[in-house]
Symmetry: C2
Subunit: 217 residues, 2 copies
């Protein structure tokens, strides 16, 4: 009286194919028919395993959050918390640049047909920033940042880096003020805005570049 078990390789295969299509060809390529063809099965497989296209997308988004969390966890705390914070920003941006379409899905940029994030998904996303909140706390404790709510400070970092990433993705950051230049300037300004001195901020942001490249082989 028990059901037939599905091939355990089908579900991850579908996610893999879909994630690859999203990464390589963008949201347009994400159709049940296309995914089914690439995975060598019928469109029904998508519905038995996920119920709808949107749920498959959600699954991919969750994997994106995990990847982002991994990227942020990579940067181990050093003696310079402000440099750590800047390195977190670099890691965040690095991840976004490496998975632009995924990033768009995760943070609401691309609607992808009827896909919409749920409050749970967003909580998942915010949770990922726990590392940043902790780092903000260390910056404050070290006297580098003004006394303030670490969560609010982390949000400001997040917002600014997200702004660079999305405007750059939209193609708006070009020659005299290209994305790299804006990003570097933004990092320094953020630290100063949070309470650091101009000199210390510049030095730490400078240091973070080495920290980051050291953290990503």
């Amino acid at each position: 009286m028990s059901p037939r078990k599905s091939d355990p390789r089908v579900r991850p295969a579908l996610i893999d194919v879909a994630a690859r299509l999203l990464a390589e060809e963008g949201p347009q390529a994400l159709s049940t028919r296309r995914i089914a063809t690439e995975a060598g099965c019928s469109t029904m497989a998508v519905y038995t395993h996920f119920g709808s296209m949107s749920e498959l997308v959600r699954e991919i988004a969750h994997e994106g959050f995990a990847r982002l969390a991994g990227e942020l966890a990579r940067a181990a705390p050093t003696a310079d918390p402000v440099a750590d914070m800047a390195a977190l920003g670099r890691g965040y941006r690095h991840n976004a640049l490496a998975n632009p379409h995924l990033y768009a899905v995760m943070f609401g940029g691309s609607s992808l047909g009827g896909f919409a994030l749920t409050e749970q998904d967003r909580q998942h996303g915010r949770y990922t920033l726990g590392t940043v909140v902790g780092c903000a706390g260390r910056c404050i404790a070290a006297g580098r940042f003004r006394h303030a709510d670490p969560e609010l400070v982390a949000h400001q970092m997040w917002i600014a880096v997200h702004g660079v990433v999305t405007l750059a993705a939209g193609g708006y950051l070009v020659d005299p003020c290209d994305a790299d230049r804006c990003f570097e300037a933004q990092l320094v300004a953020l630290m100063i805005g949070a309470g650091d001195t101009a000199e210390a901020a510049a030095r730490s942001v400078d240091r973070s570049a080495a920290l980051f490249t050291a953290g990503t082989p």
Copy 2:
């Protein structure tokens, strides 16, 4: 040997209907069939007047840029350039909140089928920020901001406000750090990051709230 002239009311009617659909029901509602039905004509009208759905969207985006430019032009310069800058930020955010779907189209957030901004469109968008560049120059000239490239400073303002707007649109800015709180904090931090003192920045941002409500009846 001359052609029949089209009803001059058709083209603007199509744009109006499409813009209304986008504003009221979001990108999903923007289909040639839906637009044609609402406008009381066939889908072909869209193709004779615009060539494709994307071009119609582009037209709407251009109107969005004009609206944003109007909003930014509303704030007349006062004796406090930093307050003016904050007021520009408020105006920008106000416009984005008033036309969220339009904003998403303008700045690359929603792809809307095959729609993609051209470099011309983006130039149109960047041009709109001329006001902000001018204001940044005045902040620097007044000694409130550190000496720097006004265009870069304007970009940093843009990026930060864009970040708040899009993360809020994605539903990521909630209770303890809601959009309003983040935005106010971001404004002050931006001015400090650009070189202003903490006290002067706080005062000017405070003043800008009154400036802004005075500018928008």
